[in-house]
């Protein structure tokens, strides 16, 4: 650049290699955090097992081969939430999925799918009732948002579309989806028997950052 004109790359070139490295590393951190809308790097309190994560990624890829975003075009974000097991009886179990504030706040849920792994204890078909529960306006009780009856014939993964329930939850400002699984008699939950780490239930939500509405002023 002409003498006296400010030139960032020239200034960088004038620094010692160590200082250059520090400046560029700080720039890379700041760039990634700002694009992810994070103030600082998150502190991880509940890391997920790699087995469960790899299984989830395989399931997503199997479900949506284009999810890899390999075309180089920017794809919508996909968020995985693994469940925390809640109360259970001999006939039912409750699973809690707590989504992040970012997801509940300023994103549009394009699709949300619940993935359950059935370990069917016996040879015959096992009818399972899946209820999606959401907190009532007081937040003290839960109400049934939807109920689905599934016939589980064999062990393996099953999926259930929970997009509407998740959108309605976020619409109410809640971040937590509760799923209740109930079997007719004392069969032992078809979900928990023999479940290993990589068969942990999870919800995969495909979300897109809401673009700021352009207000037309007349």
């Amino acid at each position: 650049a002409p003498k006296g004109v400010w030139c960032p790359a020239c200034r960088l070139a004038a620094l010692t290699p160590t200082t250059q490295r520090d400046v560029l590393t700080a720039l890379a951190k700041q760039s990634i955090l700002s694009k992810l809308r994070l103030q600082d790097r998150p502190n991880i309190t509940q890391p997920t097992s790699r087995g469960a994560l790899l299984t989830a990624l395989r399931r997503i890829r199997a479900q949506r081969p284009d999810a890899a975003g390999s075309s180089g075009m920017p794809r919508d974000g996909v968020c995985f939430r693994f469940c925390a097991t809640g109360s259970s009886t001999s006939r039912s179990v409750r699973l809690h999925f707590r989504f992040s504030r970012e997801l509940a706040g300023n994103t549009e849920i394009l699709q949300a799918t619940l993935y359950l792994f059935w370990a069917v204890p016996g040879p015959r078909t096992c009818p399972v009732t899946v209820r999606l529960l959401q907190p009532d306006p007081t937040g003290l009780n839960v109400t049934t948002a939807s109920e689905t009856r599934l016939e589980v014939q064999r062990a393996g993964w099953a999926t259930l579309d929970v997009s509407q329930a998740v959108r309605s939850l976020f619409g109410q400002g809640s971040q937590r989806l509760t799923v209740e699984l109930e079997v007719p008699e004392d069969l032992g939950s078809p979900l928990l028997a023999g479940r290993s780490d990589s068969h942990w239930p999870f919800v995969a939500a495909q979300a897109r950052a809401r673009t700021p509405h352009r207000v037309q002023r007349r």
Binding site: L24, T25, P47, G69, G72, R75, S100, R101
Partner: protein, 114 residues
């Protein structure tokens, strides 16, 4: 585009890799292992203006000579990214959700003169 070598002065792409393990981010960024934060640097003499990378054909060389002889007609020129791609991340967010997202235009693949 041209990758910068030791003493390149012309417009080229400088490679710079940030290893997430080196900066202590490997616990919350699951994939990839680092970020190629390449950037563009170098001079854009007037006769190279408007051609991504350096002259590489007879046609371009002739064009350059014409430009160089009419230098007063030309304007300034800058070394900028001419091709970029997204950075795909798989990471934990603040609530330990696992998020897969592509941040567009984060990796510079080639540089050239405006």
């Amino acid at each position: 585009g041209i990758d910068c070598s030791g003493d390149s002065r012309m417009c080229c792409r400088k490679e710079f890799f940030v290893d997430f393990k080196e900066i202590g981010w490997e616990d919350w960024i699951i994939q990839p292992e680092g970020y190629h934060m390449n950037y563009c640097a170098g001079l854009c003499p007037l006769h190279v203006a408007g051609i991504p990378g350096l002259a590489s054909s007879f046609h371009t060389a002739v064009l350059n000579l014409i430009k160089a002889n009419n230098a007063d007609a030309a304007v300034d020129s800058c070394c900028v990214p001419t091709q970029r791609r997204p950075l795909s991340l798989l990471y934990y967010d603040r609530d330990s959700n696992i998020v897969k997202t592509d941040i567009p235009d984060m990796i510079v693949d080639s540089c050239g003169c405006t």
